[in-house]
């Protein structure tokens, strides 16, 4: 299939950036990133600079890939990362627009690569359980309800890609932050530090310049791991609890 690509090119953080158009020949079994590999190979053969994009595992779990494809983070399919998207979703003659994740807390490094270290900072502010190596009791010492553990997993499945932020008109990181807080709050081991965790992580999130959540819900739609906005609702409740007392 023959495709037209409109790709965001930006030399570095200071450059203002612009779109460039390319043509590429793809096959339906290719992944989206393999299609970009083909384009880059063409560019290198013409002694031009290839398009920079973040990617690594190419199986939907590392959270590196991060493109906005025709206006949607990770492209058109539900529950799919860019690297899992395959070209059978497109047909010959299509024009595809590819941009980086856009949010002020994710500055562009080059072309389609953005800096997501603000997410690491949020985790460092409290997204953990304070247990040193060697301090743990037997794994079966505390039984945990099967369904509860499974719900915790549903939050813990977050890959930290940042699609939620890119999808949000406010550039809010509430889905990311609330997923971590819900994961740890559901496990008995995580309850001890819960209140401080909520306070500190919210504070850090604001400090990183992420916007407020206004319940748009785009984050849930675009999340490649289909993390629910229930996490956000819970976090709002937790936050009120830590500020005004109660739960």
């Amino acid at each position: 299939m023959e495709l037209k690509l409109k790709i965001w090119r930006q030399k570095n953080q200071k450059d203002s950036g612009h779109f460039e158009s390319y043509k590429v020949e793809a096959e339906e079994h290719m992944s989206f990133l393999e299609m970009l590999d083909v384009l880059n190979q063409q560019l290198i053969e013409q002694k031009k600079e290839p398009v920079a994009f973040d990617h690594d595992c190419r199986e939907g779990i590392c959270g590196s890939c991060s493109l906005v494809i025709n206006g949607r983070p990770h492209g058109p399919q539900a529950g799919t990362t860019t690297c899992q998207l395959h070209m059978r979703a497109y047909k010959s003659g299509d024009t595809i627009t590819i941009e980086p994740f856009r949010a002020s807390s994710f500055p562009v490094i080059k072309d389609l690569v953005v800096d997501r270290s603000s997410f690491d900072n949020i985790i460092q502010s409290g997204g953990y359980i304070s247990v040193n190596t060697g301090q743990a009791p037997d794994g079966n010492a505390i039984p945990i309800e099967k369904d509860l553990s499974s719900e915790a997993f549903d939050s813990a499945t977050c890959i930290g890609c940042g699609a939620c932020v890119a999808a949000c008109p406010n550039g809010s990181a509430m889905l990311f932050t609330s997923a971590k807080i819900n994961h740890l709050q559901k496990m008995p081991q995580g309850k001890v530090e819960h209140k401080n965790r909520v306070k500190n992580m919210i504070k850090q999130m604001d400090k990183e310049g992420f916007g407020q959540c206004s319940n748009v819900g785009a984050c849930e739609v675009e999340c490649p791991k289909e993390i629910s906005t229930k996490n956000i609702a819970n976090l709002n409740r937790f936050y009120l609890g830590t500020v005004f007392g109660g739960e």
Binding site: E34, E45, H55, R58, G63, H86, D120, Y128, G139
Partner: protein
């Protein structure tokens, strides 16, 4: 060079306990004055950096990723082994030890493997305490499943994302240490050289991948946790960025590379679909708990399937060859990976392959769906359920167990694996070989340690499923933090290591010169094209089966490729900016040299064992034929551009009798 394994005296089961209790300690006030560099932040690196930080050492941790959470440990699907015996099925530390030694085809150290089995139980406890949401039973206790090569159920899991959950646990512990300032984290920094001062590893040279800046970092010792080198094959289940360079730079500085030819080819991966393919995707071994592997009995049927005239469903039960169940009745579909991979190759060599390229076999869940469906109907009290109802219920059970894997398969292939058997084929997955280390996980270079997949230590010639996570975390949480003290206790009088020394200056200059000379080639071929060609040579001559003639030919081809690389590679962009092509170039040239060493190692080892199958050494039934008389040793290679030198560490088996490995 005499290789000192430094295995403690005493009974196998007491060695580690006694040693741990009698090791030199570093007092807290001295820990504060000692600096440790950890390169790589996957399971082994993150757990080591976090634990060393907790102990009070000053840690600098490095990753080429934008965050420690991206390391490829994250992609491990199926689970992690531990000898908890929660299932009361006869498991024990000894049995896990024995299974691992046997699974590794008797090419690993008894003492290391026993220690690994001992540490396995603590890992689960630690992960649970970190909040890892493992699968649980209705009673709230931890659930288990089975993996290949064993007859007990000792694998703990978090759906098909066990690696992710364990890595996030280690990453969170690491994040906590970063927040306290005990660990200084350097994201998007790649190690380009090891710095040695007075024969000890004292630092590294890094490139800031965002700015291209070359930096010096000094410490009292250096830990490499930089993973495996499966990407030498270009196509593998490794992530695109996984590379050998940190380890290879150490080899260039005198560290030994052990058993480089021991590569694990994983039997269940999604087959190659075309020339453009950039990587391969694993389908977890856990699927073989319920999936049955087969090909058609006749070539005619196989050809008909390949040409699209028939589908799997058109092949009657009696016309299918469930070859693993036929050849290995005791373990059936759960034979170890090397055995399952070779059996798939035998089937496709007989022209029974079921995908267009001929390189694919079926992994079929129809029987499991029916079995689970019937059981579920019974529990739900449904009398005489219809076939459709049974299928519906069975698919629900299978979806609960493997839902995300089935979904992943469908996304990649566009086929529904509930209705049509999966098509799978072996692919490079893990490398048992790695930097040679002693019992302390220290390489032959004083002050240089290697943990996780980067070392060679525990898996012999073949790794059992769900043991990589176990080893990475055992090394990082429970072994290195102790054994590093053996070295550091001797360093308490060493002042802070300065980066102003002549050694650092020379290493920095060498790195800059190396990068510049790569740029200056200004040839015509892309880095990627060299990598692809290297991969094809490796797969053809050093892949699932090898022979002397092919290995010699392969080695020469690689040497030619290296020359061509140095005369015709083209790297676009500039040095002092974010430049992924430059990163790739430094990695690919290291892979090329490693590839040559792998060929040499495979050629020198005149036997078949584990993942290393030499066509000249096989039984009449086509099984691997080991040669314990001459090859019960670890090959540890000293690099030399022309003639690498082989050093041998004899393996002594005091507790286990060497037997022909049989899964029949």
């Amino acid at each position: 060079m005499k290789l000192e394994a430094r295995i403690p005296e005493g009974n196998l089961s007491d060695k580690w306990k006694k040693y741990r209790g009698s090791m030199n300690l570093v007092a807290p006030n001295n820990k504060r004055r000692l600096d440790v560099i950890v390169v790589g932040t996957g399971l082994a690196g993150a757990s080591a950096a976090a634990t060393l930080g907790e102990l009070g050492y000053n840690v600098k941790a490095f990753t080429f990723h934008d965050s420690p959470r991206r390391a490829h440990s994250i992609a491990a699907q199926g689970g992690i082994n531990a000898a908890k015996n929660y299932q009361n099925d006869g498991d024990s530390v000894y049995r896990l030890f024995y299974d691992t030694i046997k699974g590794g085809d008797y090419r690993s150290r008894e003492a290391n493997v026993h220690r690994l089995a001992e540490c396995s139980t603590e890992i689960i406890d630690q992960a649970v305490a970190q909040g890892v949401p493992f699968a649980r039973e209705y009673g709230g206790l931890l659930a288990n499943r089975s993996f290949g090569g064993v007859q007990v159920s000792r694998t703990f899991y978090a759906r098909g994302q066990t690696g992710q959950q364990l890595l996030i646990g280690a990453y969170q512990s690491l994040s906590r240490q970063i927040a306290t300032g005990q660990v200084e984290m350097y994201n998007r920094h790649e190690m380009l050289d090891l710095v040695m001062i007075d024969g000890k590893a004292r630092g590294i040279i890094t490139r800031n991948l965002l700015t291209g800046e070359i930096d010096r970092h000094a410490a009292h010792c250096v830990v490499l946790a930089t993973g495996g080198y499966g990407n030498v094959f270009y196509l593998s289940t490794n992530a695109m960025g996984s590379n050998v360079s940190a380890a290879w730079r150490a080899v260039k500085k005198g560290a030994l590379m052990a058993n480089p030819c021991f590569t694990q080819i994983h039997p269940t991966c999604i087959p190659v679909s075309g020339e453009y393919q950039s990587k391969l995707t694993l389908m977890s071994e856990s699927l073989r708990n319920d999936g049955r592997v087969w090909v058609p009995k006749t070539e005619e049927d196989a050809i008909a399937i390949r040409e699209g005239r028939k589908t799997a469903l058109d092949i009657a039960e009696e016309d299918r060859d469930y070859y693993l169940e036929r050849r290995y009745p005791a373990f059936g579909n759960l034979v170890p990976r090397d055995v399952a991979s070779r059996a798939a190759k035998v089937a496709t060599d007989e022209n029974k392959g079921v995908v267009k390229t001929g390189l694919g076999v079926f992994l079929d869940f129809a029987a499991a769906i029916e079995r689970y469906g019937k059981a579920e109907a019974l529990t739900k009290g449904i009398q005489n359920p219809s076939k459709e109802k049974v299928t519906e219920l069975g698919e629900q059970v299978v979806s609960q167990k493997y839902g995300n894997l089935f979904q992943m398969y469908e996304k990649i292939t566009g086929e529904n694996p509930y209705k049509m058997p999966m098509k799978i084929y072996p692919a490079v997955h893990y490398t048992m070989g790695g930097l040679w280390v002693d019992y302390n996980l220290q390489t032959n270079v004083p002050g240089l340690f290697a943990v996780g997949e980067a070392n060679f230590s525990d898996h012999g010639a073949n790794r059992l499923g769900a043991s990589a996570l176990m080893q990475g975390l055992a090394d990082g949480y429970f072994v290195l933090p102790y054994t590093i003290g053996q070295f550091l206790s001797e360093e308490i009088r060493s002042p802070k290591i300065s980066t102003d020394s002549a050694e650092f200056e020379a290493a920095e200059k060498a790195t800059k010169d190396r990068l510049k000379s790569l740029f200056d080639i200004k040839g015509n071929q892309s880095v990627e094209s060299f990598h692809r060609r290297l991969g094809k040579i490796m797969w053809e001559y050093c892949g699932m089966s090898r022979n002397a003639e092919g290995l010699k030919k392969g080695r020469q081809m690689i040497r030619d490729l290296k020359q061509e690389f140095y005369s015709d590679v083209f790297i676009p962009g500039e040095e002092n900016e974010f430049n992924p092509e430059l990163e790739k170039a430094t990695r690919v040239i290291d892979f090329i040299e490693l590839g040559e060493l792998m060929m040499l190692d495979a050629l020198e080892r005149n036997e078949s064992c584990g993942g290393h199958f030499r066509e000249e050494y096989r039984t009449e039934e086509g099984e691997a034929m080991r040669n314990d008389q001459d090859y019960t040793f670890v090959s540890a290679w000293e690099w030399d551009d022309d003639n690498p030198v082989l050093h041998k560490e004899e393996l002594n088996f005091e507790n286990v009798e060497l037997k022909t490995r049989s899964y029949k």
